[in-house]
């Protein structure tokens, strides 16, 4: 686990900016779950569309009208089965999917009344029901005698492992962290995964049996790809992106300039969030979900001024409009079209950050306008993307720093499949990682059982 004191005490950096109670309140569920009454009424709004656009928009192919009809008829087990048979992390996806860009954006209700069916909340209602009752929806087929190694116990790896377990294979999952779960455990904003939900869901999934988890096992250190290929019938890589991009500015090593991902990991693991060191003026560099997450969570921890500094315009920002709105709702400022120029510091602690104001060119490129702005900062969070750790993966075809896979998530190596954030063209969504794992498992199974 990372050190709690990611930021050394500076003039404006301190813990306990808010009381324990205030922080607990701030980090409660982002969206309250639906009550039974609300779920019944909301389920009635679904038109049960043919060839439903919401299902088409779901990266994991969930039969949305199908599960909503089951909620409508009080068949919650049936609803959960429909969801989880396509997406075993249906519970977490109901919490962290950008539904406003996926299923709910596609809902035909938008055309008539600009208010889609609350698909995400309905999915949560159905999946929470079986997770809390513990109803077993899946059982394992007869043992096949095949064994598969999965690297990474995140959504991609566990999705793959679960599907393979159902199909009767034996799986060993290796993970570098102390706890399994990957980004569900270490990355997702705390207010989207309350009450240790990631571990509860994981436990439910692993109850299927046939899956052994080995933590503290890092690819390239304790394990390596060559050995895994030798020892197992197949290997799935769901190792995520192990390192973060750097600003490449002078002074980047001064205190107060830190990786957002690392800080969030710490935030997710710490027992009392009030003990986290929080700046007064915070600048977040980046434009994706991580930037939004760290900005909003900093506000919730009591930071006074939080500004997201993004190099390009509003429409190009990777974070959805909904997420940008969420940030603004939490009083986060978003500064568009500013590119990092230099870090200012005093006594080895960051004090401000200077940016070039950029102008978009007709060819889509960016050009410095010549103007600068300076933002006061006691803490600068770097949220400018993550990188695949390629050590130990040299035998694989890698393009643009990502593993190349085919439509079945098979890599250039005969016995190796991959999915989640580490593959090329991945979209960094939990739901897509789950789909990758599922597709890879289906392909692995087909390969291993061919001619059997």
């Amino acid at each position: 686990m990372s050190d709690n004191k990611l930021i050394s005490d500076g003039v404006n950096v301190k813990s306990h900016r808010l009381s324990k109670k205030e922080i607990e309140n701030n980090f409660s569920d982002l969206h309250a779950p639906l009550s039974a009454v609300e779920a019944l009424i909301e389920s009635d709004r679904c038109y049960f569309c043919y060839d439903a656009p919401c299902t088409k928009a779901c990266p994991s192919d969930i039969d949305v009208p199908g599960f909503i009809q089951s909620i409508r008829s009080d068949n919650l087990t049936g609803a959960a089965e429909k969801i989880l048979s396509e997406n075993i992390f249906g519970g977490m996806c109901a919490r962290d999917c950008p539904t406003e860009e996926l299923c709910e954006q596609a809902c035909v209700r938008n055309d008539n009344e600009e208010k889609p069916v609350e698909i995400g909340l309905l999915q949560r209602y159905a999946t929470d029901s079986v997770l809390s009752s513990g109803v077993k929806l899946f059982s394992r087929k007869k043992e096949t005698g095949k064994s598969i190694a999965v690297v990474g116990a995140g959504p991609a790896g566990i999705s793959c492992a679960h599907r393979l377990a159902v199909l009767g294979h034996k799986i060993t999952v290796y993970d570098a962290q102390d706890k399994p779960g990957g980004l569900n455990e270490y990355g997702i904003a705390a207010y989207k995964s309350t009450n240790d939900f990631a571990q509860q869901e994981l436990q439910y999934i692993l109850d299927i049996g046939g899956i052994t988890i080995k933590t503290g096992m890092k690819l390239g250190n304790q394990i390596n790809l060559e050995d895994l290929q030798e020892q197992y019938d197949a290997v799935f890589l769901g190792c995520g992106l192990g390192t973060v991009n750097q600003l490449n500015l002078d002074n980047e090593n001064v205190s107060g300039v830190i990786d957002a991902v690392e800080y969030i990991e710490n935030l997710r693991q710490i027992d009392s969030k009030d003990e986290l060191m929080v700046g007064k003026n915070i600048v977040v560099v980046g434009g994706g979900m991580t930037a939004i997450d760290i900005a909003v969570q900093s506000k919730l921890l009591g930071a006074e001024q939080v500004t997201i500094a993004y190099r390009r315009g509003k429409n190009i920002m990777a974070a959805s409009e909904y997420e940008q709105l969420l940030a603004k709702k939490h009083d986060v400022q978003i500064q568009y079209n500013v590119s990092p120029k230099r870090l200012l510091s005093e006594n080895s602690h960051v004090t401000a950050m200077e940016f070039d104001v950029m102008q978009s060119q007709s060819d889509g490129g960016l050009k410095a306008s010549g103007e600068n702005i300076t933002l006061k900062a006691d803490v600068v969070f770097k949220a400018i993307g993550q990188k695949l750790v390629t050590e130990g993966l040299n035998s694989l075809e890698i393009i643009k720093g990502r593993i190349v896979v085919d439509e079945n998530r098979k890599t250039s190596l005969t016995k190796v499949w991959a999915g989640g954030d580490c593959i090329l063209d991945g979209n960094n969504l939990t739901v897509s990682a789950v789909q990758d794992g599922k597709l890879a498992a289906i392909s692995i199974n087909e390969t291993l059982t061919q001619g059997v």
Binding site: Y50, D51, D111, N112
Partner: protein, 433 residues
């Protein structure tokens, strides 16, 4: 403002909305509240012989609800009044005295012997009631004792009991019919033969609402057993409308005044009943679910509707739609409708498509180019069945449009302005040549 006042068989009321004989008209307390709320009249909870009947001390009612708990259908096993005859008479006399401008009708149910009618009818009439309503419809409990629906299901009994009532009453006699029969014209004609001044319909329909999914017993039960009740509420309106229209268009009964009952919840329901031949309407379930205030919208809604139609009174609406009701055999087989989708309104849900595809004539086509969903009607296959319109969730998005010229691409037959029905159709073995 259109005139809502009603004169039904000479019984005057300020509006055509009466409360049907049922729990809301059980006693003076309720009826006074109803009149304060603006109801035009009431049919008092059915009187019977003393000793008065008793009710169960468990569930009398159950409802069928939508997911947002709106009552769609309603069921009851309550019997006729469970209070002494004299108590009811005293209250009725007082109520009529206090509300002289409102209609007060006595609903009655007596056994099939003349003495009973001879004994009770004059005493009841002495309270000042405006008329009688003979309850030949109650489908539970009382029917086991040879009354209620047990009478209403036998035309001869209807005629006989009506004659007895008419013999001892001087005020108008309305006969309330049960829908638990095969053809409502038999009881309606029997009413006429017995001298009834009017019929009212429908009473409730035999029903069991559901089972209890835990105990797998019928639901609800009194202790561990239940019995069928009478079904009413919005869900029964179409059944009632058909029976009303059948009586209104039947040669023998077409002049028999009708009081329409069955699921009236809004002014639109009243328009349905009145246009199909009723002179007024009676309401129970809506009042039981929403309280007496519900009449306010019924009154303003009906009045505004009449204004919009340029009608000065309710009377002008009575029976307006009756000429449009006929037998299937007289429907024009030369008429051709085709479904039309208003693409600007279409929200691309595909309900029309899948309904037509799975359950009708595969006349709607679906294309999906890069999530651009388009649904179109294929006139070559469309039989004009209206299923698509019936399932479309968007108001006025789908409609049926009549072909007035050209050729029906489905049959290759030219559109004809001539009317041709089954009676002359070549396939009809009994055709009139």
């Amino acid at each position: 403002m259109a005139d809502l006042s009603s004169n039904f068989l000479g019984i005057k009321s300020p509006n055509p909305f009466w409360l049907a004989s049922a729990p809301p008209t059980d006693k003076a307390y309720n009826v006074n509240r109803a009149f304060e709320a603006g109801w035009g009249g009431v049919s008092w909870k059915t009187l019977g012989e003393d000793p008065h009947i008793v009710n169960v001390n468990g569930p009398r009612y159950t409802s069928m609800m939508s997911n947002d708990r709106r009552v769609i259908g309603f069921n009851n096993i309550e019997l006729i009044t469970d209070r002494p005859f004299k108590v009811n008479l005293k209250e009725m006399r007082q109520v009529k005295r206090d509300w002289p401008d409102r209609a007060l009708v006595a609903s009655v149910m007596f056994p099939m012997n003349e003495e009973s009618w001879a004994k009770h009818i004059p005493i009841i009439e002495d309270t000042g009631v405006d008329g009688f309503e003979l309850n030949f419809g109650c489908p539970h409990g009382m029917s086991e004792r040879g009354m209620g629906a047990a009478v209403g299901q036998v035309p001869e009994y209807i005629k006989q009991a009506t004659e007895w009532c008419k013999k001892y009453a001087t005020v108008p006699v309305i006969v309330k019919l049960t829908p638990n029969i095969t053809d409502v014209l038999y009881p309606a004609e029997a009413c006429l033969e017995g001298g009834a001044d009017a019929v009212s319909l429908i009473n409730t329909i035999n029903s069991i609402m559901r089972v209890d999914y835990d105990t797998l017993t019928m639901f609800p039960t009194t202790g561990n057993m239940g019995t069928h009740g009478g079904y009413c509420g919005e869900a029964v309106k179409p059944i009632a409308l058909n029976m009303v229209a059948e009586i209104a268009r039947n040669e023998k009964t077409k002049n028999l005044p009708i009081s329409g009952i069955g699921g009236v919840t809004t002014w639109k329901d009243a328009v349905d009943f009145i246009a199909l031949g009723a002179s007024n309407v009676q309401v129970c379930t809506a009042a039981m679910v929403y309280g007496f205030k519900i009449v306010e919208d019924m009154k303003t809604g009906l009045s505004n509707f009449l204004d919009e139609k340029g009608m000065k009174s309710v009377d002008e609406l009575i029976g307006k739609a009756v000429p449009s009701v006929t037998d299937w055999k007289f429907l024009n087989l030369n008429h051709v409708d085709k479904a039309v989708i208003d693409q600007d309104k279409c929200i691309k849900c595909g309900r029309c498509y899948i309904a037509c595809e799975d359950a009708s004539h595969q006349a709607i086509e679906y294309t999906n180019n890069n999530d651009d969903r388009v649904f179109t009607v294929n006139d070559d296959e469309c039989v004009g069945c209206n299923l698509c319109v019936s399932v479309c969730p968007v108001v006025d998005c789908m409609s049926m449009v009549a072909m007035t010229s050209g050729t029906d691409p489905r049959t290759g037959k030219k559109i004809s302005s001539e009317v041709a029905d089954w009676t002359t159709h070549a396939n009809n073995p009994l055709k009139v040549s």
